[in-house]
């Protein structure tokens, strides 16, 4: 079973996405902020991380960068979830070490395709 770490501070967004992902047979772990994401990633080494970028305590950019510079977590693929309005986010996400990005509101089928591509 593929373990997904979903990092999202918005409760409803988190609920909706984790529901949909678990319905598709993924095992979903969650984290509310960047720091928690790092801690959980280190502790459970998920197969993939879906990370919102706009997070409290430590934002998604910083968290991604830290995960990608830590030997134990650098191989975990990260899909950045960014707000569509910020058009530079795509480049930014990639430059911060994320493997892919998806804009919100999320197009679920495309997200699934990206997950399966990155966890293949």
């Amino acid at each position: 079973m593929i373990n997904i770490l979903l990092v999202e501070d918005n409760e409803m967004n988190k609920d909706m996405l984790s529901r949909r992902l678990s319905r598709r047979g993924f095992n979903v772990l969650t984290a509310d902020n960047g720091q928690e994401a790092i801690d959980r990633a280190k502790a459970s080494i998920p197969d993939i991380i879906l990370m919102d970028m706009d997070l409290p305590v430590k934002d998604g950019w910083t968290a991604s960068q830290e995960l990608k510079s830590n030997p134990s977590t650098l191989s975990i693929p990260i899909i950045a979830l960014t707000a569509h309005a910020m058009s530079g986010d795509r480049q930014k996400a990639l430059s911060f070490g994320c493997n892919d990005y998806e804009t919100k509101p999320i197009e679920f089928q495309r997200l699934l395709a990206k997950i399966s591509e990155l966890t293949a």
């Binding site: 996405l17 949909r20 319905r23 919100k104």
Partner: protein, 520 residues
């Protein structure tokens, strides 16, 4: 009074909620749970809307509101999709699908508008473009599309639309970038594979759409790529300019997705035909070049051209016709081989065969076979001429005359001198493609061929012997040096053989006086 589209959406969502509350199977705990999450998200959305209506806002907070609103609708939409996935054609499926469509369209409109600088939101028109929202599109007509727009939002929006249809999208954020990308043929990156269509924004800083278009049409490598111009709503003049500069089509912003799709597909179809045509032409060229190269070694250009025009000439099977056969052989070749290392033998043969082949082809002969030092050439097949025999004799004289030159060349490379005998005979043979489909050979079969071979063994160094049949077939007069009768091995009747030294007429030529230097 026209209803606010956002209120319309909320109304449709609320209706949907009532319907689901009524009809969802009570026993399905999972579905019920999803439904209550949907209700929560919907409440949040409604609250957000109400909160916004009751407050005055700056443009900054407006942007934030749009962001929140998009998120809220996306959320509700996500739950609807989740419920729909479990629907199995229930009574409420259609209503839910319609509401889902409604959400999708609204989101799309929002995304479309959010790239405009004046935030006159949210007076959106939610037209009925339900078809545009379909997620499952046939992918067979997909292509690689280059989107050129200085506004990354527009690029991303187009990417969303087009991605759904299975297209590969490459974005360029300026005219310069687009041209650099198209001109960079050195990179064999898989993302940089051939571009099938270009969506080009007309208004861009620095290099604008028209300038890019002109560059594209100037370059033979990019000329054939269809270009669809994207322009502001009322810029008809700009569009006209682009079309006369070679643009294939245009689209006004904001796009109607159905129209976008239609125009793209038309453009891609054109490109596909163009590519196909180019490919065919390329394949044809390769084939012709191949045929010329392969047959050109054995057939004269004239014959190759005739075969290319009439490929049925290559069918298996033979035809009976009168031809003149020429055979030549190096005298004492076998003992020569014994004294020479194989590399030198090959070098010797190559010079010899190259020079002689040239002469044979020059006289319209067909080289039917080369075996070691022996050459079998035919005159009169696949194409026949009235003076085939004359050609063969003239050819034989020229062949003999070139030998001293070959020897001179060989001497420079430390190779020994050679001498050759030639026989010419005329008669009726079967010529054609003999063999199987996989391996066949343009060959001649018949008694005259065997007789030629026999006569050839009688020819001494530097001699040309022709049979009586050939002498009869000649149109021109030849100088006979010697005439004798012989009964060659395996031949029942004796034949008259002529050793000739010169010929008059069209191909007037004669054997050179024997060069004493070339004597061993």
């Amino acid at each position: 009074m026209v209803k606010d589209p956002l209120n319309q959406l909320i109304e449709s969502l609320s209706d949907c909620r009532s319907l689901l509350a009524d009809q969802l199977p009570v026993g399905n705990v999972e579905l019920q749970d999803d439904f209550s999450a949907f209700c929560k998200a919907l409440d949040f959305f409604i609250q957000l809307k109400q909160h916004n209506t009751s407050t005055q806002h700056s443009s900054n907070s407006n942007r934030q509101f749009k962001h929140d609103m998009r998120n809220a609708i996306g959320l509700v939409n996500g739950y609807i999709e989740l419920i729909l996935e479990q629907a199995n054609d229930s009574a409420w499926t259609t209503t839910l699908s319609n509401t889902h469509q409604h959400c999708q369209n609204y989101l799309r409109k929002m995304l479309n508008r959010s790239d405009q600088s004046t935030p006159s939101e949210p007076s959106l028109h939610c037209e009925n473009s339900a078809k545009a929202g379909q997620t499952d599109r046939p992918k067979k007509n997909s292509g690689t599309i280059l989107v050129v727009d200085d506004d990354p939002n527009n690029c991303e929006l187009l990417e969303r639309y087009l991605h759904k249809d299975g297209h590969q999208i490459i974005c360029a954020y300026s005219g310069e970038q687009a041209l650099a990308l198209l001109n960079d043929t050195s990179k064999e990156d898989k993302h940089q594979r051939s571009i099938d269509l270009i969506l080009l924004d007309l208004i861009m800083p620095e290099l604008d759409g028209l300038a890019v278009l002109k560059q594209l049409k100037k370059n033979p490598a990019t000329r054939a790529i269809p270009v669809v111009i994207i322009s502001g709503q009322h810029d008809t003049e700009g569009v006209v300019g682009c079309i006369s500069a070679g643009a294939d089509d245009y689209l006004f912003k904001p796009f109607d997705p159905t129209l976008l799709r239609a125009r793209l597909n038309a453009g891609l179809e054109r490109k596909r035909w163009h590519d196909k045509e180019r490919q065919y032409r390329h394949e044809l060229e390769i084939n012709q070049r191949f045929i010329r190269q392969i047959f050109g070694r054995y057939l004269s250009d004239e014959i190759v051209a005739s075969l290319l025009e009439n490929p049925q000439g290559l069918e298996l099977g033979g035809s009976r016709r009168t031809v003149t056969v020429l055979m030549s052989d190096i005298r004492g070749f076998t003992p020569l081989c014994e004294t020479l290392p194989p590399e030198k033998t090959v070098a010797l043969l190559n010079t010899y065969l190259r020079k002689l082949s040239e002469i044979i082809l020059q006289y319209g002969g067909t080289i039917d076979e080369i075996q070691g030092d022996a050459i079998l050439a035919i005159f009169g097949a696949p194409l026949s001429h009235s003076d085939d025999c004359d050609r063969a004799v003239a050819c034989a004289i020229d062949m003999q005359n070139i030998i001293p030159m070959i020897n001179q060349e060989n001497a420079q490379c430390g190779l020994p001198a050679i001498q050759m005998g030639i026989a010419v005979n005329t008669g009726e043979v079967i010529v054609g493609n003999i063999g199987s489909e996989k391996r066949s050979k343009y060959a001649i079969v018949g008694h005259p061929v065997n007789l030629t071979a026999r006569i050839e063994t009688l020819a001494g160094a530097g001699e040309i012997l022709i049979s009586q049949a050939s002498k009869k077939a000649l149109l021109s007069e030849v100088t006979v040096v010697r005439q004798f009768s012989s009964q060659p091995k395996g031949i029942s009747e004796s034949v008259t053989i002529y050793q000739i030294a010169a010929m008059k007429g069209r191909y007037t030529c004669q054997l050179f006086e024997e060069d004493t230097e070339s004597q061993p």
